[in-house]
């Protein structure tokens, strides 16, 4: 532990260097997800107030690329696929409508790495 210089302001380091610290890359990813989630939550609060306060689950579109077989079945040339730069997160907010009883309300909002809402879907 560094000793504090006489007369200096500020705190000395109390957390040991390189111990009990989350790796920066995980910190950065968590921050991106949190920022994207805030964007999604604002959209959901604006469109479906009944879902305000619902904690969403997150899925990662960029981690599920289509297989060559699926592309072939769809008749899609891989070159046709629109490439999104970076991560794309889908936040699913699951709840119920105020009325009538039993009416589901689930909204899925997809946010890209630039914090743009690229898709939204809602239960029919």
């Amino acid at each position: 532990m560094m000793s504090k210089q006489r007369g200096a302001l500020g705190r000395s380091r109390t957390t040991p260097r390189d111990e009990r610290r989350v790796p920066p890359v995980v910190d950065a990813e968590a921050a991106r997800i949190a920022a994207a989630r805030r964007v999604a939550a604002r959209f959901v609060n604006d469109h479906w107030p009944e879902l305000a306060g619902v904690v969403p689950t997150v899925t990662f579109r960029h981690l599920n690329p289509p297989s060559p077989e699926l592309l072939q079945r769809a008749g899609v040339d891989p070159a046709e696929l629109r490439a999104y730069g970076g991560a794309v997160y889908t936040f699913t907010f699951a709840g119920m409508r105020a009325a009538p009883e039993g009416a589901p309300l689930v909204a899925a909002v997809t946010v890209d790495g630039q914090h743009r809402i690229v898709k939204a879907s809602v239960t029919r």
Partner: protein
Amino acid sequence: MHLALAPRRRLAALAGSAAPELLAALDAALAARAAAGIASLAYDPEVGVPALGLPPAPLEPAALISQVKAADRALAACGEAVESLWIVGGPRALPFAGLPNPMPDRDGPLRTDAPYGLAGPDELIPRWPVGRTPDADPPVPGLLAALLRAVAAAHVRAPRCSTGGVVALGAARWAAVTAEVLANAGPALVLSSPPIRSGSAELGSLAGARVVYCNLHGVRGRDAWFGQAPGDSELVPALHPADLAGLRLDGAVVITQACFGARLAAVEDQLPLAVTLLRAGATALFGAIGLTYGAPELPPGESDLLAAALLSALRRPGVRLGEALLMAQISVLRTALRRQGALDPDEVKTLLGFMLYGDPALSLEGSE
């Protein structure tokens, strides 16, 4: 070769004293298929097909799927291919298969016929189209026999008797999306809910429609489908089984995006809308048993895309019902991949969850 899974022994047991009538209706439907030139192999899964080396299978999904795979291999060895699979009976006779729910929406496992076409999480598009002529759950006396007689009549009639166009009933909240879905559907009468509500005289327009398209809400435990005003969260009943009393929808194809739209279980002691529509003469119904998804605003997404592609496919002269669904599923897949580069869980659920109630080998006249 068009396969037909007809669990005769189970159907007879469920029908009780009405078994002779039911089996006669089944035989008539199969005969009508043959007369229409549809090469069919109908068998009771509990008996198997000894000529093809297919052993008997219990009426549970995993065994039935294995048996269908074996049938596919056996037919391939003879230079044939499975072109469609028709399931006769409700879930008490031959159960829906179950798949993991791709959406984190608390809807439970996906109940669907897709795996009988060998579709699943790893192969989203079935190898062959699947359709089911269902019974209610629990079975209703005389219902399945009536639906099978309708299937026979549809094959004999060949084209639809209906000369109507498309009648669309949609939540006002999604008016723009509904309009876009209908863009390539041909002439359409659009009823928005509200102001249309259950009991409205305008619902009489459903009679004689070629296609009935519903972009409405479904509610668990309620027997109606609901509309919604723009900017208003309240749902209003738009279509109730009682609205179909006295209406005939002979030859109509129904496409419903409503959550639980294809549910077969009675609700509030009332037959669900899917069953009521079929009993009113609808030739087919496309829908899902669980939660469904669509876009809140333009552009259309998920089940909107499926409905749009179905509406387009059903216009093709001579298209078979099962082919129309397959074409629509491929269209949804292609559109989603080109838009996004990958599929989201709501698209996967749309592809695997939407089913056909009807004979997949039935050809329609189309309207092009």
